[in-house]
C-alpha cells in the first residue's frame, strides 16, 4: 500500500488537522470530528448537516460554507459517522429554524443518522428532517433490498438545498427541494482500478489490466458487472444510457451534468470524458444547462468516474447559480 499517511488508524483525525490548518474560515471539532462553518449556528437559517465515511474528499467537509453545508461529520474511512457525531453537528448548527440531515442511502448511514435524530429529539427540541439520497441506477430499487445507493446527486443536492437554506427558506421547503433534487437526479459509476482502504492495506478487489467494473459504488464495492476495457466514447454510453433510461431527462430546461472523478483519475481524462458525455446527450436530445467536472466525491485512490444527470428547472438553476463559498465549490461569493 502506497499512501501519504502515518498510522492507518490516524488517517481521519490527521487529515482533519490539515483541513483545519488550511481553512481557518471553518471550525473543526476534533473530538467529534465535525467540520462547521465558522459562523455556525446561523440565526434563523435552516442548518444543513451531512456526513458519511471518510475517503470521499472533498465530500463532505469540502462543501461546508456559505450556501452549502453548515456541518459535515467525518466517519472512519468508508464507515458512516456515529450518532454522537451527528448529534453534535445537529446541535452546533441549530439556529432555531430546524436542521436538515442529508443522508446517503447506505444501511450504516441511515441507521446512525436515525439514532442521532432520536438522540436529538430526546435531548432538545430541535426539529430535524432527514432526506435520504438514493440516485445510483446501478442498483435495483426495491422495498426488499437496501435500495439504491446515494452517490453523485448528493453533491448537487447539498449545493441546491444549501442555496435554498441560505435564502432563508423554512425547513419544510428546503427539505422539499432536497427531495425534488433526489427524485430528478440519477447517477452511474465505473472503475478502472480498485481503491485501497488504509486499514485494509491492499486493494479491495483485483481487476485485470484489460477489464473494468461498471456500476461501482463509492466505497470500493465491486460493480454489477465486469467488462473488457473500452474507449472513453463507449464508457460514456455505458454510463449515460442507464441514467437516461431510468429517468426521462428530455425537454424542460435541460440537465445539470456532473462528471465526477473517483480520486485517482486525472482532470485531463475527466474533461475528455465530459466531451464524450455531452456527445451522448446531444444524440439523445438532452441539453446541458450547467455542468460540473472534477473529483468531488471520490473513493480514495480509485481510478474511474461517474456521471450524474439532474433534470433542471428554473428554480434549480437559480439555486445552482447562487453564491457558494466552500473549500471545494466556490462561485459568486
Amino acid at each position: 500500500m502506497k499512501k501519504l499517511i502515518n498510522d492507518p488508524a490516524d488517517v481521519v483525525p490527521e487529515a482533519l488537522r490539515g483541513m483545519a490548518a488550511a481553512h481557518p474560515e471553518l471550525r473543526v471539532d476534533h473530538e467529534n470530528r465535525v467540520v462547521f462553518r465558522g459562523d455556525a449556528p446561523v440565526r434563523g437559517k435552516v442548518g444543513l448537516v451531512s456526513g458519511g465515511g471518510s475517503g470521499h474528499e472533498p465530500m463532505h467537509a469540502g462543501f461546508v460554507g456559505t450556501g452549502m453545508l453548515d456541518a459535515a461529520c467525518a466517519g472512519e474511512v468508508f464507515t458512516s459517522p456515529v450518532p454522537d457525531q451527528v448529534a453534535a453537528a445537529t446541535q452546533g448548527v441549530d439556529g432555531g429554524a430546524g436542521v436538515l440531515h442529508i443522508v446517503k442511502n447506505y444501511t450504516g448511514d441511515v441507521m446512525n443518522f436515525e439514532m442521532a435524530a432520536e438522540l436529538a429529539a430526546a435531548e432538545s427540541d430541535t426539529e430535524v428532517v432527514a432526506v435520504v439520497v438514493d440516485d445510483d441506477v446501478a442498483v435495483q430499487n426495491s422495498l426488499y433490498t437496501a435500495g439504491r445507493r446515494g452517490v453523485g446527486v448528493t453533491v448537487l443536492l447539498e449545493k441546491l438545498a444549501g442555496a435554498a437554506a441560505e435564502e432563508g427558506r423554512p425547513l419544510a421547503e428546503v427539505a422539499e427541494i432536497a427531495r425534488r433534487v433526489n427524485a430528478t437526479g440519477r447517477s452511474m459509476g465505473m472503475a478502472l482500478t480498485s481503491c485501497t482502504v488504509p486499514a485494509a492495506g491492499r486493494p479491495t478487489f483485483d481487476l485485470p489490466d484489460d477489464e473494468m467494473e461498471i456500476g461501482i459504488g463509492i466505497h470500493g464495492e465491486p460493480g454489477r458487472r465486469r467488462v473488457p476495457l473500452a474507449p472513453a466514447r463507449e464508457v460514456a454510453e455505458m454510463l449515460v444510457e442507464p441514467v437516461l433510461s431510468d429517468l426521462d431527462m428530455t425537454g424542460g430546461d435541460g440537465v445539470i451534468a456532473f462528471v465526477n472523478g473517483m480520486g485517482g483519475t486525472p482532470l485531463l481524462e475527466l474533461y475528455l470524458m465530459y466531451a464524450e458525455v455531452v456527445a451522448v446527450l446531444e444524440k439523445a436530445g438532452v441539453g446541458v444547462a450547467r455542468n460540473l467536472v472534477g473529483s468531488y466525491m471520490t473513493s480514495l485512490d480509485m481510478a474511474g468516474c461517474s456521471v450524474t444527470l439532474l433534470r433542471a428547472d428554473d428554480e434549480l438553476l437559480r439555486l445552482w447559480d447562487a453564491p457558494v463559498r466552500t473549500p471545494a465549490l466556490r462561485w459568486g461569493a
Partner: protein, 210 residues
C-alpha cells in the same frame, strides 16, 4: 449458582474482543469481497474501546456491563455493524432479568430482536441475523430440553457457525452486499462471521458456569 454475573459478561466481551482482533484481517477480507473492506477494522476498534470502557468503569451490575458495551460500540464503530451490535447489547441489557442461563437466553434473544427491528432484515438476507437467529433458537431449545448452559452455548455456537456457512450461497438482500446482486453469492457474509465469533466467545467465556 450464579451463572451470569458482571464478571462473566465482562469475560464474554473480552473473549469476543480477542477473537475479533485475531480475525480482524479475515473479517476485512470477507468485507472486501462483497462490501467495503472495513468490517474487521470497525469491530476491532469498537470492541477494543468497549474493553477499555469496562476497565475504566468496571460496572457491578450485569446489565450495566452490557449497556456500557452497547453505548461504546454505538459511539465508536459506525457503519452498519455499529448500530446493529450496539442495539444488540442495548436490548440485551434492557431484557436481562436474573442471573441464570434462561435469563441470559432471554437477553440474547431480545438483542437479536433489536437487530431485526433496527436493520429491518430477515433471516436469509445474508446478514448477521443468519448466525444470530439460529444461535438463539439453539440456545432456547437446549435450555428448554434441560441441557446445562455450557452445552447449550456450545450448541448455539455450532448453530451460528452453520448459519454463517449457509450465507455463502445466498444472494444478499440487505446491507452493502446487496448492491452486488447475484455476484454476492459464493461469499461468506462478514457480519454473520463476526456474529459467530460473538456466540463462540459466550461458549468459551461462560464455560463451566452451568
Amino acid at each position: 449458582m450464579t451463572v451470569v454475573d458482571a464478571a462473566g459478561l465482562t469475560a464474554w466481551v473480552h473473549e469476543f474482543t480477542r477473537l475479533v482482533h485475531e480475525q480482524r484481517d479475515a473479517l476485512t477480507q470477507l468485507d472486501a469481497a462483497i462490501g467495503d473492506a472495513d468490517h474487521g477494522a470497525n469491530l476491532d476498534r469498537g470492541t477494543a474501546a468497549a474493553v477499555a470502557a469496562l476497565e475504566a468503569q468496571a460496572p457491578e451490575e450485569p446489565a450495566a456491563v452490557l449497556k456500557t458495551v452497547a453505548t461504546t460500540l454505538i459511539k465508536t464503530v459506525g457503519g452498519a455493524s455499529g448500530p446493529l451490535y450496539g442495539t444488540f447489547f442495548l436490548r440485551a441489557a434492557g431484557a436481562l432479568d436474573g442471573d441464570d442461563g434462561a435469563a441470559f437466553a432471554t437477553a440474547v434473544r431480545a438483542g437479536y430482536e433489536g437487530v431485526v427491528a433496527r436493520g429491518k432484515a430477515e433471516r436469509g438476507d445474508k446478514t448477521m441475523l443468519d448466525a444470530l437467529g439460529p444461535a438463539c433458537d439453539a440456545l432456547d431449545e437446549a435450555l428448554g430440553a434441560g441441557k446445562p448452559l455450557d452445552e447449550a452455548l456450545r450448541l448455539a455456537a455450532d448453530a451460528a457457525a452453520q448459519g454463517r456457512d449457509a450465507t455463502v450461497p445466498m444472494v444478499a438482500r440487505k446491507g452493502r452486499a446487496s448492491y452486488l446482486g447475484e455476484r454476492s453469492a459464493g461469499h461468506q457474509d462478514p457480519g454473520a462471521t463476526s456474529a459467530t465469533l460473538l456466540v463462540e466467545a459466550a461458549a468459551t467465556a461462560l464455560a463451566g458456569r452451568g
